[in-house]
């Protein structure tokens, strides 16, 4: 049913911390590994060992360089998967009813039994979160590991999306944005969690925590002075670099020990 639910009981989603993501792609392949043999059709790889391999992935990491005129450039690693938008355009455009947003938790899913692979939902998504599997001909997207997060066959602590469980840098957090006290809500509030492309009006659930300010970004000659420069132990200009003066200080210092 491609109408959006009026409200969802929970708003499950991810917080992605751009301040700590080192761009290792662990979330990318662990996601692929879990999802290729779980929900729906496998995530296939066309021409897997050929000149132009092209596979289906539900999560990908871009690397950007950000620079202000005259300043040092900085590198930002940027993981991107479905943002499980509240106003998900991918759902409403779907002609077959395959795409839907779950009423209980807000997860956006594709019912592969109904998907005819027209690709319109992928066109409607501003974030590139949907990829049509070239072998199965059905639309694939992040399921927020709906087959993990409630899975009673998994230990309770593992009932999180595969990308969250595997992230070595702890840059991914999973939780309920509808609950103002949840980890994700608190992180979003404390760190100014941002929406991607807010002007699209999709009301994405996932939030991104911006990189904290860097101390070197002003360039080589505009360094913040956090600690004052060190005072030489020998203040006399003539002798301060001479070992003699230094030994005098050393002798006194040793006496104090």
């Amino acid at each position: 049913m491609t109408a959006l639910p009026q409200t969802t009981q929970k708003k499950l989603g991810l917080v992605i911390d751009l301040d700590i993501c080192v761009g290792c792609h662990a979330c990318v392949t662990n996601c692929k590994e879990w999802n290729t043999s779980n929900y729906g059709a496998p995530l296939s790889d066309i021409d897997a060992y050929g000149a132009e391999p092209m596979g289906t992935f539900l999560n990908r990491v871009h690397t950007y360089e950000v620079r202000q005129e005259g300043c040092n450039a900085q590198t930002v690693h940027f993981p991107k998967s479905c943002l499980h938008c509240e106003d998900a355009p991918c759902v409403t455009v779907c002609p077959t009813g395959a795409s839907y947003k779950r009423e209980e938790d807000g997860i956006v899913l594709v019912n592969e039994d109904r998907c005819m692979g027209c690709g319109l939902c992928a066109w409607a998504c501003p974030y590139g979160a949907r990829e049509l599997d070239q072998l199965a001909g059905v639309m694939k997207k992040c399921t927020l590991c709906v087959d993990r997060i409630y899975n009673e066959n998994l230990p309770e602590e593992d009932r999180v999306p595969a990308c969250v469980r595997t992230c070595p840098a702890g840059a991914r957090h999973f939780g309920d944005f509808a609950d103002p006290d949840s980890n994700v809500s608190r992180l979003t509030a404390e760190r100014g969690g941002m929406e991607l492309m807010p002007e699209q009006g999709t009301a994405p659930v996932n939030r991104y925590l911006p990189p904290r300010p860097k101390t070197d970004i002003g360039g080589e000659n505009k360094i913040d002075i956090l600690a004052p420069f060190l005072e030489p132990v020998v203040n006399d200009e003539a002798t301060q670099d001479q070992p003699g003066g230094f030994l005098g200080w050393l002798d006194k210092a040793l006496e104090k020990i």
Binding site: D45, P168, F229, L230
Partner: protein, 944 residues
């Protein structure tokens, strides 16, 4: 609107039938993994939450393990070469035939000239086993890949403080407040650093990244120092200059735990110059501040002086600290002097020094935990200086790398931040002083084992491996005057030296997991020629090559006999305390691999094969008295081998009852016990013993009880490395063993017992105006040490590598998107695609390492992007330095340790615009794949 309807969904599907816990093998982290099995196949691999290394997380490589395990490039049976070397034409043979063939080559060699076997093992994780085998065989020519990896780091660490980074130790992630990371190229190590950085972010600690390239860890550092490659030593010594000048050093720490107060002979020109004053028991002397007289450094209760000097028989003896202060207080080390060369402003160097001092001395942390030092003195609490450091190949893979690594350790020690809360902490079996390490051995007797372990730490010229004529005893010329402290050997010189017959010719080259015809060699194109080269009789110059690998790598094509190994999920292994264990700062740990799935091909684990060959050769330790094989396979060896009585490859669950920790007789159920425990074993260090390990009596006693040492090994850190001075004295004409004339000046200069900085060699031998830039490589996190295969998933992420060129260079040469470059070093040229990068040192360019593949390798299509757009920088890095006109072959290595100086590479660049065919150059002609090509499409998981 109708009621909202959505399909019913099973949110609790079965995950798997069984979880088998073993150890990953995609890099040297060796994380614990849970392998989920279903229908006899691997369904999912995740990190093991209980495992000390990764605590549940798993990187991109580990998470792609299924594609590595089921790769089409897996070798299927033993192969015998039928075409020419390098072509890749083979016939499959039986294991019996293969093992008989290998034995027929190796047996006569052992009886006549064992040194004609060169056995090198690349990214081996069982070096204590392979080294033992090589020793039993009797060849001196054994090493692994350390020489082209990070021996500078390891050797500088051992000589200075009895351990180094990574497997040797780690920052105190929980408590550190300022963390500096130098030259870490996304690796060494992988998951633990990421987990550690996360902790630092949580606690609000500051991270300073020192690296020409702002990627990976440097991207998330609070401050990035985009240093000019090869100048790290200069920068560190300037920090030391600033700290000394301000008196911001931990004098109490230096007095107690280092050789700072040791008295050094100041009598220039004498044979004892620069050596320690010692008593009749050979113990170094310090000046007692109370009496003004020398006493042994470890005399309980004394308070050494460092401000005074001692005179005896007309000779002045000065404390190490005075020599050190004198050396680094000079203006040569002032920030202004080094700023331009380092590409870091003087103010910034000053500020970083001030920050280090501020955190170390104003934010010290105290743990209320009493402890007793080895002299019996009781301390009420543990005081920490919460500044920590980590460094790796970026600073070590230079010809000045050893001294740079030493400088970094000196900086840590001056701040009093080693083995204290918040600082850098050792991981068992470290700390371990030089004295507790073996010396190198090369005593060959035909038909007999070698006279001792191959690799070790020399104490002076008498330990060099030279014959009576001063020639190298080892094929790689390790432990010679060219590189006296080459503790890991020089694998990168192996093929070049063997081809040149310098120091001698060999017969059989036997290698394991070392892609020496490709990304593991410098000068790849020429190395390929060397492997193929024939003499005037039409025989190969390197007559025989045996190679073991699990996959159809580039090196396979050059082997005469290929012994197919298993994948990591099909094998037994032990990650042993005798080798490179997985310990934590708080505990000793080791782990196993076991066949969670049986091979479906005619392949065998390399170590089992090596035991089989050993038994066929009748090697001591591998056969029973009746000549029958002593070990059924590697698993049998892991359980039953004893290196010393009660000490075996695995430390856990020893003894008949399985309760032995570290020590105990073999336990036949040991592997089962490991499996039940999740594939690993860990034993925590008592609270009283977790810090100050080198000097902490409780730690020393615990380490002896656990078999890490047989007797306590307390020691002090070596700010001043006396063995280096011994080499220097020899170079100055003292003693019986002296360097040849052409090396005297170099040895005297570089074997300085206090760290020095000198420009990287290649830069001094080429015209810097003509070759103004440095070219570097680093491994991407998702491919780092992916020695397995070109993984179907990972190759979609990194299937080709551009050359990242600094914005400054791009602007100067007018590079636009889509342009290609011809990059030329003094040795040769490559033509490669260019991408601009601004967050990069202005004079630097770099690329991802080992993405470029030879066409036809790894079961890839011959037109795979790795073989077309992808490239290796190795083609323009030579294993030898540019000729100096003296007719000598000077290797492109650190002159102290022989570490391959990959990062000294100087280049120029030319914009050639877009390249129509899109193929990088040089393009090596394809090899025939012995395993065919992979399937066109993959849809893993359909059956589940």
């Amino acid at each position: 609107m109708p009621p909202y309807d959505q399909p019913a969904l099973d949110t609790s599907p079965e995950v798997s039938e069984e979880i088998r816990k073993t150890t990953c093998y995609m890099c040297a982290c060796r994380c614990g993994i849970n392998v989920h099995m279903k229908n006899g196949k691997v369904k999912y691999i995740e990190g093991n939450r209980d495992h000390p290394v990764n605590r549940g997380v798993l990187c991109a490589k580990g998470s792609s393990g299924i594609m590595t395990h089921y790769a089409p490039s897996r070798l299927r049976a033993p192969l015998k070469r039928v075409g020419e070397r390098g072509e890749g034409k083979f016939e499959e043979i039986s294991w019996d035939e293969a093992l008989e063939l290998a034995t027929s080559w190796l047996k006569p060699l052992r009886e006549t000239a064992p040194e004609k076997l060169a056995f090198f093992t690349g990214r081996d994780q069982s070096q204590s086993f392979t080294g033992w085998w090589a020793q039993a065989y009797g060849t001196p020519n054994y090493a692994a890949h350390g020489g082209f990896c990070s021996v500078n780091m390891a050797a500088a660490g051992i000589y200075t403080m009895g351990g180094s980074f990574w497997e040797f130790g780690q920052p105190d992630w929980e408590r550190t407040k300022l963390f500096m990371i130098f030259g870490v190229a996304e690796d060494h190590d992988s998951n633990p650093i990421k987990m550690g950085l996360n902790k630092l972010k949580e606690t609000g600690a500051k991270i300073i990244g020192v690296n020409p390239i702002r990627s990976g860890y440097n991207a998330i550092a609070d401050e990035w120092v985009g240093i000019t490659p090869g100048t790290d030593g200069l920068f560190i010594l300037a920090l030391i200059h600033e700290l000394l000048k301000a008196g911001k050093v931990d004098l109490d720490y230096l007095l107690r735990y280092t050789n700072a107060p040791f008295l050094v002979n100041d009598n220039e020109g004498s044979a004892e110059h620069g050596l320690f004053l010692r008593d009749e028991n050979d113990r170094p002397q310090v000046l007692d501040r109370a009496t003004g007289q020398p006493v042994a450094f470890d005399t309980p209760g004394i308070k050494p002086d460092m401000a005074g000097t001692y005179e005896s028989d007309g000779v002045t003896y000065r404390p190490v600290f005075q020599l050190l202060a004198e050396k680094y207080l000079t203006d040569d080390h002032a920030p202004e002097r080094v700023a331009e060369q380092c590409g870091i402003s003087a103010d910034r160097i000053r500020r970083i020094a001030a920050e280090l001092a501020h955190v170390a001395f104003e934010q010290e942390i105290v743990i209320e935990q009493p402890w007793t030092d080895w002299k019996g003195e009781r301390h009420d609490r543990m005081i920490g200086r919460p500044v920590s450091f980590h460094a790796m190949r970026g600073i070590s893979a230079h010809s000045n790398g050893y001294q740079t690594c030493r400088a970094l350790h000196i900086l840590q020690i001056l701040l009093g931040s080693v083995e204290v809360p918040g600082g850098f902490r050792f991981k068992p079996p470290y700390p371990k002083p030089v004295e507790a390490h073996p010396k190198p051995h090369a005593g060959v007797t035909p038909g007999q084992p070698l006279d001792g372990p191959h690799l070790g730490y020399v104490r002076g010229p008498e330990d060099l491996l030279l014959d009576e004529n001063g020639n190298a005893k080892r094929i790689d010329k390790a432990f010679t005057w060219e590189n006296p402290m080459s503790a890991h050997g020089l694998m990168h010189m192996l093929i070049s030296n063997a081809h040149a017959g310098d120091p001698y010719r060999i017969d059989t080259l036997f290698m394991f997991m070392a892609n020496m015809s490709w990304n593991s060699s410098m000068n790849t194109s020429k190395v390929i020629d060397m492997l193929k080269d024939k003499d005037e009789n039409g025989e190969y110059v390197i007559p025989r090559i045996i190679y073991s690998d699990a996959y159809s790598s580039e090196m396979v094509a050059f082997a005469d006999l290929v012994l197919p190994d298993t994948t990591y999920l099909e094998r037994h292994d032990c990650i042993s305390l005798l080798d490179r264990p997985i310990c934590e700062a708080d505990g000793m740990a080791d782990s196993i691999r076991w066949p969670v799935i049986e091979p479906d091909r005619d392949v065998r684990g390399f170590q089992s094969v090596l035991l089989d060959i050993g038994a066929r050769l009748g090697l001591p330790g591998m056969v029973n008295e009746d000549g029958s094989p002593k070990y059924k396979d590697y698993a049998d060896y892991i359980v039953n081998h004893e290196r010393r009585p009660g000490i075996g490859p695995l430390a856990g669950f020893r003894g008949k009852d399985g309760k032995g920790k570290g020590r105990g007789e073999p336990n036949p159920n040991q592997i089962e016990a490991y499996k039940e425990n999740g594939g690993f074993w860990i034993d925590h260090i008592p609270d009283e013993a977790v810090f100050y390990k080198p000097w902490n009596q409780a730690y020393q006693d615990w380490a002896v009880a656990r078999g890490l040492y047989d007797t306590p090994q307390p020691y002090v850190f070596q700010l001043y490395v006396e063995p280096m001075q011994k080499f220097r004295l020899a170079a100055q004409g003292h003693g019986d063993i002296q360097p040849p004339e052409h090396l005297r000046a170099q040895v005297e200069r570089v074997m300085d017992p206090l760290p020095i900085w000198y420009p990287p060699f290649e830069g001094t031998l080429v015209d810097e105006k003509e070759y103004p830039y440095t070219a570097l490589t680093q491994r991407p996190m998702a491919m780092y040490h992916s020695w397995g295969t070109q993984n179907a998933w990972l190759r979609q992420i990194h299937g080709a590598n551009p050359l990242y060129v600094s914005g400054e260079i791009c602007d100067e040469h007018g590079f636009k998107p889509g342009d290609w470059a011809r990059v030329t070093s003094v040795h040769g040229s490559i033509t490669v695609p260019v991408v601009r990068m601004d967050a990069l040192n202005g004079k630097t360019m770099w690329t991802w390492n080992a993405i470029g593949k030879r066409s036809g390798a790894w079961a890839l299509d011959e037109k795979a992007s790795e073989a077309t757009r992808g490239f290796l920088l190795n083609h323009i890095i030579h294993e030898l330095l540019p000729p100096r006109g003296d007719g000598m072959r000077w290797n492109n290595s650190d002159p102290v340790t022989g570490q391959a100086a990959w990062f000294d590479l100087r280049v120029k660049i030319e914009n050639i615009g877009p390249k129509a065919d899109g193929i990088s150059e040089p393009h090596i002609p394809p090899q025939v794949s012995p395993v065919g090509k992979g399937p066109r499409n993959v849809a893993y998981g359909e059956e589940f």
